[in-house]
């Protein structure tokens, strides 16, 4: 079995490979290695996972019945697309009813995760138009790899 020095070198070498998981048995000693951004704290078999908190996604519902449009006209780009960040009061669509155009404005800050309706689709009152990620609480969890937030 490796001594601590050898083990440290061994683990260090593994880190730079794309091996995700490794189990090793040698003469009654077992080593279990799994790549994670989290530091394991107990024996060889221990693995600690920090739960990613459930995202609180907010459905954005239609304030009225009519025909939903993503953009001002077919010559214009959509007001928002998936991935866009929005702020309260920002125009995210328009609904036409009885030849009157009504602006649809966001009431939250966040990111458009899903666009639920097509351009020119008839919508009823309360129908889900967008799903928005308000992006709260990420700072406290601190576990999202690579988000850069």
């Amino acid at each position: 079995m490796m001594n601590v020095e050898e083990l440290r070198n061994f683990l260090g070498a593994l880190k730079h490979t794309d091996i995700e998981e490794l189990r090793m048995e040698s003469g009654g000693n077992k080593i279990f290695f799994r790549k994670s951004d989290v530091v394991p704290i107990a024996g060889p078999k221990a693995e600690v996972k920090v739960a990613v908190p459930e995202k609180q996604l907010i459905p954005f519902k239609s304030p009225m019945v009519g025909t939903f449009y993503h953009s001002r006209s077919s010559d214009h780009p959509p007001f928002v697309i998936e991935g866009n960040h929005i702020v309260p009061g920002q125009k995210i669509g328009i609904i036409e009813a009885m030849k009157i155009i009504k602006d649809v404005a966001s009431n939250v800050k966040g990111k458009i995760v899903k666009v639920c309706v097509k351009n020119g689709q008839s919508v009823e009152y309360g129908q889900e138009l967008f799903v928005i990620d308000p992006e709260i609480g990420i700072e406290t969890a601190g576990v999202e790899p690579g988000t850069g937030l």
Partner: protein, 450 residues
């Protein structure tokens, strides 16, 4: 004929209209508020659209939302049912300007009959008897007051022009009490309606509320059907209706029917409507008002004539001609309707919304139930309390009463309080059996002078 009709209503009448459309091969669009998502009319229509939040003002009375729903669904006509926007001239106008047919009379007909004072004048012009009264407002120190009152004949009732619900009213039996009654009524009217204008009318003693269903086509032909007696009321709300009226003989029926027809012709009425009269104990009849819509109690007339009034209404709105005359209509049976409301009679008829845990509708010969109830349905608190209409018909009035008693006994509604028990009492009442039914029936014979 229309391809698709949007029903701008809810509850039992929406279900009724959807049924007529299905029989006519017309597609149906139900509109609903959020809380009505599980309502029966939404389940039975071909399509449904949620048009707003629960309050009626933001949903069933919300004209832009309703028109928008008609546009996106491609409906070519809107049926307004009764209540809500059924007699709203602005709504009729908006439908017209959007190229959607409003299934009802023209906005002019609605307007002419909506203004009570103007309607009175129009009726007089067309020879329809109206309740004798003042031409307009009266005041206590009017020099011609006593002359006018004498001409009308005592007893006289002082009424508020802006009024309703029994407020701002005073009955005057002798000349001495008249000035004071006017003053008191004015004070009450000012407090209740912010408008102290009052007028006077002959007070009809023990009136019977008798109404005539009429149909009119686009060519000006109007037909009247046998009368309905709606005298059993509580606070001016009808509870029980029947046809024919035990108070009306064939000769009076002909006279009143003709008057009803003239009333409808006076406003060029198309589709279906009802002319209401008050009849005194001497069998003098007087025009009260015209209801320019399909009414709650229309099934009673359907039972005795065999007609489908909602189908007729749709066909007339589509421009079809009336294919029959009044004389072609036979009275085939006697029919009675009981309106079952979600109200607690033991607590002054307090509304009783909630979840209906069990609903067993009565059935068998001569029984019809118009309802939107089902077990598991939650009655919302935002709208009216009508749960079901139970209609019983029989070869004669007696059989109709017995069948209604049977039906009320069979009917089970659990989970909410209803007025079924009150109807059982009415059906068991001796005076009701005798046909002694005027608008004071309930306080006199059931509530014992309340």
């Amino acid at each position: 004929m229309f391809k698709k009709i949007l029903i701008a209503n809810r509850g039992e009448i929406a279900c009724r209209v959807i049924r007529a459309c299905h029989e006519l091969g017309i597609k149906t669009v139900a509109i609903h508020s959020e809380i009505d998502r599980d309502s029966l009319h939404v389940k039975t229509a071909d399509e449904s659209i949620c048009i707003g939040p629960n309050p009626a003002a933001e949903s069933y009375l919300n004209i832009p939302s309703i028109i928008s729903a008609a546009e996106i669904s491609g409906a070519d006509a809107i049926h307004p049912g009764y209540g809500f926007l059924a007699e709203n001239t602005y709504f009729a106008e908006v439908c017209e300007s959007c190229g959607i047919k409003f299934i009802g009379p023209s906005k002019e007909s609605i307007e002419k009959m909506g203004d009570k004072i103007a309607a009175r004048k129009l009726m007089q012009k067309y020879g329809v008897p109206v309740i004798p009264g003042s031409e307009g407002a009266v005041v206590a120190d009017d020099p011609d007051l006593f002359k006018l009152a004498k001409k009308i004949g005592y007893p006289i009732i002082v009424k508020a022009t802006a009024g309703g619900g029994g407020k701002g009213m005073r009955v005057v039996v002798t000349e001495e009490a008249l000035k004071n009654a006017i003053a008191m009524a004015q004070v009450e009217a000012k407090a209740a309606f912010g408008n102290e204008v009052v007028y006077i009318e002959k007070y009809i003693e023990e009136p019977h509320h008798i109404e005539f269903q009429i149909l009119g086509d686009a060519r000006g032909k109007v037909v009247y059907l046998p009368e309905r007696d709606c005298s059993i009321q509580r606070r001016h709300q009808k509870l029980v209706e029947e046809s024919p009226s035990p108070f009306i003989d064939p000769s009076l029926r002909r006279k009143m029917g003709k008057a009803a027809r003239h009333a409808a012709e006076a406003v060029n009425y198309v589709t279906v409507g009802t002319v209401e009269f008050l009849v005194d104990k001497y069998k003098h009849f007087y025009f009260m008002e015209m209801n320019t819509r399909i009414q709650v109690e229309h099934p009673v007339t359907e039972m005795i004539t065999g007609l489908d009034l909602v189908k007729e209404q749709i066909k007339l709105a589509a421009g079809e001609r009336l294919g029959f005359d009044s004389k072609d209509i036979e009275i085939r049976c006697h029919a009675i309707e009981c309106r079952i409301n979600a109200e607690d009679p033991d607590r002054d008829f307090m509304p009783s919304p909630g979840k209906v845990t069990q609903f067993i509708a009565p059935g068998g010969p001569g029984i019809r139930v118009d309802s939107h109830l089902y077990a598991g349905y939650t009655i919302p608190s935002f709208y009216d309390s009508l749960l079901a209409k139970v209609i019983a018909s029989g070869a004669n009035r007696n059989e109709a009463i017995i069948r209604m008693q049977r039906a009320l006994g069979e009917m089970t509604i659990e989970g909410v309080k209803t007025t079924a028990q009150l109807h059982k009492r009415i059906m068991a009442n001796d005076y009701f059996h005798k046909g002694d039914v005027a608008t004071d029936f309930l306080p006199k014979y059931i509530f014992g002078g309340e």
